[in-house]
């Protein structure tokens, strides 16, 4: 059950990102499918599953080739899954629009942490450029996540 529910999809997402994310890149910015998957798991299955999957996926992503800050990806994925898990707990009590706005805000927060580390230099010299980098990195992944909503809605109360 765990194999079908978590391990196989995780492997599929990992290899999809590993092999095909470069094809979808726009000017060195690539979509982040693993974080979409981690958020889906956290929203649908709960915080615990999201944190574990996020941590393990993050480790593998960093092992696949990162030049500096090895360990940043599992950290950001775990934090995002932990925060997203709150929505899973409160999904019954939340208005659908508020629920959607919340997970979009969490995605922006995830890339804010990522951008604060990666684009520190730009933040200190040109905050407008930093904001553009942050928004464009987030928006590209958010676009794919919104498309996936049409196939598999992230809100468990809206099947």
């Amino acid at each position: 059950m765990i194999l079908i529910k978590f391990i196989l999809p995780s492997l599929a997402i990992f290899f999809f990102q590993f092999l095909f994310s470069e094809i979808l890149s726009i000017s060195t910015i690539r979509p982040d499918f693993p974080i979409i998957y981690v958020m889906y798991i956290a929203l649908r299955q709960g915080r615990f599953q999201g944190v574990i999957i996020g941590f393990i996926l993050g480790i593998f992503i960093d092992l696949a080739g990162v030049s500096s800050y090895f360990g940043l990806t599992p950290l950001t994925y775990s934090i995002t899954a932990y925060i997203t898990g709150i929505l899973h707990i409160k999904s019954d009590n939340l208005n659908h629009y508020y629920y959607t706005a919340s997970w979009i805000a969490i995605l922006f927060f995830h890339f804010l942490i990522f951008s604060l580390v990666r684009y520190q230099t730009i933040l200190m010299s040109d905050i407008l450029l930093f904001s553009i980098k942050w928004f464009s990195t987030t928006a590209y992944t958010l676009g794919f996540m919104l498309i996936l909503q049409l196939i598999y809605n992230v809100n468990p109360n809206k099947v």
Partner: protein, 267 residues
């Protein structure tokens, strides 16, 4: 004890997050430990084997166009080479006359980019050469146009190159003809910034930027880019220079690793 385990199970999500947080932080703090380097080197080997069929397939799609471009380039380079051979002869004669000894000796290893990592931003690439080919950590990496990064991880048959777009990358550069030196760091896309340039140095747009030769990693005179903007603030005794690098970060296919480089002997 039983109550402790019950509490752990009840709050398993918080416990899991705490463990993953602690382990991630410890990984971040031990990036340069020898054991970590061994593990990353071994993992790199495995992932590059997995990625090699995709890399081969992609290269098949572009091989015809690439072949045509390479033929044109070879032709132009042949013409340029003949011209430079004549100039080199003249230079050699002049050097002999001035009793000038040139000790520069670059040994370059060509390599193919087989993996560009998985992060949302391009920060590093993997090459198909490693320790068995003589590659070592901190060897410079170049494209045909200029400096692009340096080797930071080495496996037996592959290595990771830290690109200029990585936050932690710094390069000591010199701007010609003024000779001003500074530390170059990446800004965005293919633009970099050189801060702390003395204000009294005259720097013009389109000035050439090369490696200074002051570092232990890069020999001097390697092409880096050209000056595109100079920012001179009134309240500061220094100015900032924006540099556009020659290399295209998004289109990396082949790189060169400098295996052996002797520093210039200015005696």
């Amino acid at each position: 004890m039983r109550n402790f385990f019950i509490a752990l199970v009840r709050h398993k999500d918080h416990v899991a997050f705490l463990f993953s947080f602690i382990i991630s932080i410890s990984l971040l703090l031990s990036n340069n430990s020898p054991r970590m380097l061994v593990v990353r080197g071994a993992a790199l080997q495995v992932f590059n084997i997995i990625y090699s069929p995709v890399s081969w397939t992609k290269s098949m799609f572009i091989v015809e166009e690439e072949n045509k471009l390479l033929k044109e380039r070879i032709f132009l380079l042949t013409l340029q080479n003949e011209k430079m051979s004549a100039m080199a002869n003249e230079n050699s004669n002049l050097k002999t006359m001035l009793n000038f000894k040139d000790d520069t000796d670059l040994d370059i290893l060509p390599a193919k980019v087989i993996n560009k990592g998985m992060h949302p931003n391009l920060l590093s690439v993997s090459l198909n050469v490693g320790a068995n080919d003589g590659v070592k950590i901190n060897q410079p990496a170049l494209t045909a146009n200029g400096v692009i990064g340096k080797v930071i991880e080495v496996g037996k048959n592959s290595c990771i190159v830290q690109l200029m777009s990585d936050l932690n990358y710094r390069l000591s550069v010199k701007m010609l003809p003024s000779g001003a030196t500074g530390i170059l760091q990446w800004l965005h896309t293919d633009y970099c910034i050189v801060n702390e340039v003395p204000k009294n140095v005259k720097i013009e747009i389109d000035d050439t930027v090369v490696t200074s030769g002051f570092s232990n990693i890069y020999p001097g005179g390697l092409p880096v880019g050209k000056v595109v903007a100079v920012f001179d603030e009134r309240w500061s005794s220094q100015k900032s220079v924006h540099v556009q690098i020659h290399s295209d970060l998004g289109g990396l296919q082949y790189l060169f690793v400098i295996i052996k480089a002797e520093p210039y002997d200015f005696n």
